[in-house]
Point group: C2
Chain length 345, copies 2
């Protein structure tokens, strides 16, 4: 029998609460999604269809995250002796399933970043060589070859090869780990628990709204400590270092919990999903910058390779800054607050 905090809240009416069934069908629905994805994953493995397997693994992760998130937010409505361990196992599973995908995404992001560095860009309309921008004289200068130099191009190619080698290795390892996890008895226990959840959820039929409101409140509090005013000033160089990342990462997680809670209570999640994607981009860029820095610590790399990795690192840290700018704008627009950058800067 689930027992929950809300019984202890003073002033709560003794009369039976109205029927609030939102959480139960949500858990049923997500559990069913999980099981369908698991079935597709097995079909994909049997048919050696790696694309189907990959997609199904992501769908499993998607459902596992939602179940875990709902169990977190609506914990007082659940039997904790059941929900707390299940939540932990779902986090383990979604983490394991995420890793292969994350390495692939990161490699894609970094190679795309390198490609941007390597592209000469459109030929300028009124070209002039670098050194024609002398500190005196107003005469227009002759056209010039566009950047980058040949040295840069070579460094970019080598940096790309290095990152591809390192991240493909990491991805392969994550793939093996995920396969191993999906064959383990630990996974089968999770799948069994989810199968039970698909038909019966040990959850109190109370109103989930106060818990959803609490998730919203935690998010608002976490956003309040973010330096949104500074983020609203473009090119503030606040994201040069990763030292200030964690409050943003924390908001990303709380935003996701809030979004799932809104899914439970039937709120509009369009703006939340957009803001979530922005903070995913923030996290992805931060991790890509770290990967570039890590690759630069590889022994015996050429200076040109290290140089390209330094440029790439900085580029990704600027992406972090750009994501913060985008988030503050989305947040203010959602809150109906006028954006700052029209009056500042």
């Amino acid at each position: 029998m689930p027992h929950h905090d809300i019984d202890a809240v003073p002033g709560r009416p003794a009369a039976p609460a109205p029927e609030h069934g939102e959480l139960v069908p949500y858990l049923h629905g997500q559990a069913a999604e999980f099981l369908r994805a698991l079935r597709r994953h097995r079909e994909g493995s049997e048919a050696t269809d790696p694309e189907l397997s990959t997609r199904s693994a992501l769908d499993m992760r998607r459902a596992a995250r939602r179940i875990g998130g709902a169990l977190h937010t609506f914990r007082p409505l659940t039997d904790r002796a059941w929900s707390d361990p299940l939540r932990g196992e779902l986090a383990w599973l979604s983490g394991t399933l995420a890793r292969e995908h994350a390495h692939a995404e990161q490699l894609g992001r970094l190679l795309e970043g390198l490609q941007q560095l390597g592209e000469p860009g459109p030929v300028p309309a009124q070209g002039s060589p670098r050194n024609a921008t002398s500190r005196n004289g107003a005469s227009p200068a002759p056209p010039s070859p566009p950047a980058p130099s040949r040295e840069t191009t070579l460094g970019i190619a080598r940096a790309g090869a290095l990152l591809e080698r390192q991240l493909t290795l990491a991805r392969t390892r994550a793939h093996s780990a995920a396969l191993q996890a999906l064959g383990s008895s630990r996974f089968h226990a999770v799948a069994d628990a989810v199968a039970v959840l698909a038909s019966e959820a040990p959850v109190a039929p109370d109103d989930p709204a106060p818990y959803a409101a609490h998730a919203a409140h935690r998010l608002t509090e976490a956003v309040a400590v973010l330096p949104l005013g500074r983020a609203a000033r473009p090119y503030n160089a606040e994201a040069v270092h990763e030292g200030q990342d964690s409050p943003w990462h924390q908001v990303r997680l709380l935003l996701r919990l809030h979004r799932y809670a809104q899914e439970v209570t039937g709120g509009d999640t369009t703006a939340l999903a957009e803001a979530s994607r922005t903070l995913d981009r923030h996290r992805d860029a931060a991790e890509a910058a770290s990967a570039a820095a890590a690759a630069a610590r590889t022994a015996r790399i050429a200076p040109a390779t290290a140089y390209a990795l330094g440029v790439l690192h900085s580029q990704q840290r600027h992406e972090v800054e750009a994501a913060r700018f985008a988030f503050q704008r989305q947040w203010r627009l959602a809150a109906g607050t006028p954006t700052r950058e029209a009056v500042s800067g």
Copy 2:
């Protein structure tokens, strides 16, 4: 006797023009400024006061640029056989005087940039290590040491030492070249010409307004081809390469000419001076990025040094992008156009 284009303009009234003396006193005034600065420079040299010498050289350059700019814009009012060669000599002189200062400024900018990279930044309020930003799980993480790593710090120190060595050498050479120039008969001829200009300027007493308007028009035309719409979208990554710099550098030069012409005709130059400083910053950042890239091509540097130079290059290219953003805002505000970033991306 000066002869000038405006005599040939059809429809011009044959009656004597009203007295328009703005250009003559401007040239007189700037020539006097030049001579005073030259006297101070000599006093500084005799008293071995390098600071006074440096400041006086910059004042000389300032006056030389204004005389040259005015002779350019109001060329049809001048005797070209006199003004064209003088303008060339003034450009040579201001270029020579600028170089030492430019190397010093560039070194300062780059060392400041490196310092920013090396600073750990304030300790985050809610710290968590990089890898605690896992793709699942919502629990807050323990505090972490702020970036940068020790490897980065070493690379930054070595990159700083390398840049200091290279740019100090360049500065010393520029200093010698400037001293040599100021002792040359070529310089004495320029100083003699300016001394004549301080009391008599071979300039027609016509209305300078049409020529000032033409300078404004040339500037407006050059700004019209700038991608101001893209520059108004922060973090557009349009300045990754230097290939697109030259139209901006061109606007910088035309803006300066327009500003000097406004000084002649008594217009308000406050907003123009601000926009000029922004485009100076654009040029300075572009040149600093080139210097970082050039330093990275030094033989036998350590990968950590090259990495730091790569980060620095990218940082300066982002400064270029930031200056474009600032310029489009200043330009639109000056023109009374609403800024774009309030409604776009």
